[in-house]
């Protein structure tokens, strides 16, 4: 007997759900006659569904009766006034053109990202206004070693090279031109960890001694294949900002892995440019 009561209860719940799903259409009078009669019969015996139906009927009748009146008379005049106004010109670019522009932009962006120097922190991009030759690099090294004694170079050809290297303001981080070329072509793999960059500048204005030290650093870095360099006294690491020095700038971009320490003692260096100073002249 109890099982039967439970089953009847289940059937009742199921019937209630069916009825409630159709109550809106029932209230709108939008159900077939047979279904209408079934729902009405259920509502007579189910107080819960009846309450639901009454609440829905009240709400929908209020909604119908709150229907706004017609449009104001001025609407047609407004429409004509709107027609008289100049239509805004909307440029419609064809889909093909938009796609082409998008692809070209993406290509340019990819190329830029690929070519940026920060992508290769271990790699030394050579500052070249005109692509100095091997001799120019050697001359620059020679000039950096003995800035006052560039006249001591015996060969007139080499002397001209020294002068042109000084004009170009370059210091060779590489020993030979093929090395430089390969360095230019060499693209190291992207670091998994994000690299942090530091700019290292002299503590005071660049003197000949500091220029020499910078040159030595570049040389050392070159010999060490740009892997490591110990920071020397007199150089201040400045985080994430570029410091301009009056009489030329020595910019050494360094990269280190975060979390090792505030300023690591040994860092990877990337010599970008060392300008030959116009100092120490009598």
């Amino acid at each position: 007997m109890r099982i039967l009561a439970l089953e009847m209860n289940k059937m009742q719940i199921s019937r209630c759900k069916e009825v409630r799903d159709r109550l809106g259409a029932y209230v709108d009078g939008d159900v077939p006659a047979a279904e209408h009669e079934l729902i009405a019969r259920h509502l007579r015996i189910c107080a819960e569904c009846r309450r639901e139906e009454q609440a829905l009927r009240r709400a929908l009748e209020a909604l119908k009766s709150s229907r706004p009146d017609g449009a104001p008379d001025s609407l047609l005049a407004r429409f004509h006034a709107g027609l008289a106004e100049p239509q805004p010109v909307i440029l419609r670019v064809p889909l093909m053109a938009r796609t082409a522009v998008g692809l070209a932009t993406a290509l340019v962006l990819i190329t830029l990202v690929w070519a940026l120097p920060w992508r290769a922190p271990n790699h030394a991009p050579i500052t070249t206004q005109r692509g100095p030759s091997t001799t120019a690099f050697r001359a620059a090294d020679a000039g950096a070693r003995a800035p006052r004694a560039s006249s001591s170079v015996k060969s007139p050809r080499l002397r001209r090279r020294v002068a042109s290297a000084a004009a170009l303001n370059v210091v060779s981080p590489h020993r030979t031109e093929p090395e430089a070329r390969s360095a230019r072509l060499y693209r190291p793999k992207r670091h998994r960890e994000p690299a942090h960059f530091l700019d290292v500048v002299p503590a005071v204005g660049p003197t000949a001694r500091q220029q020499l030290a910078a040159s030595a650093m570049a040389k050392e870095a070159s010999e060490a294949n740009m892997r490591s360099l110990t920071l020397e006294d007199g150089y201040i690491p400045v985080r994430q900002e570029r410091v301009r020095v009056d009489h030329g700038m020595i910019e050494i971009r360094t990269a280190y892995r975060p979390g090792v320490g505030e300023f690591p003692s040994a860092v990877n260096v990337n010599v970008r440019a060392v300008r030959t100073p116009e100092v120490d002249r009598p």
Binding site: A25, A33, D69, Q87
Partner: protein, 207 residues
Amino acid sequence: MRAQEQTCPLRWSDAMSCERTAATDADGELVSRFLAGDRSAFDVLFLRHQDYVYRIAVGIVGDPEDAQDVAQNAFLQAYRSMGSFRRGARFATWLYRIVVNCAVDALRSAKSRRAVPLDSVARVLPDTSGGPEAVAERHSRDWIVRRALAAVPIQYRDILVLRYYGDLSLEEIAEVLKCSVPAAKVRLHRARIAFKERFADLGLGDE
């Protein structure tokens, strides 16, 4: 069976179908005249549909001033894109789709996000029959209805407005909203429930 059919109340769609068929034919003729170069035919179309368009706009955006803007924009858009109107389609459903889109766009703009002022509701309802008390009661009830309607999510509000302010059948609603008739039926059911709950929350559901 016949006796049972006679006891059944008049169905919504049946009540509207005859009137709509005639209206659709007349709209088709007017559209043809307009496309043939008779610009005045659009004025006739405008006058035939302006009340429905305005009601739908008011129902969705709430504010009568904004609704006038929406109606104007919808008619302008319809006028300018009449060349893309597919022959054989119903002009009314095409126009109502434009109105719904314009109203939803207006709602999304910052201007239409402000609250509906009380006096704006009064301006929509100029009916003054029954004396001041009846007018006040009606305004109060309508204000609550508007509040409840504004609280209903937009995807349910548009279908409620199309159904109860625009007098559209389920088939026409499906055409306007670009969905199937069963989908429109389900959406309308949920919309009714949502409105009933909001209406009850505002205190008029349990009289």
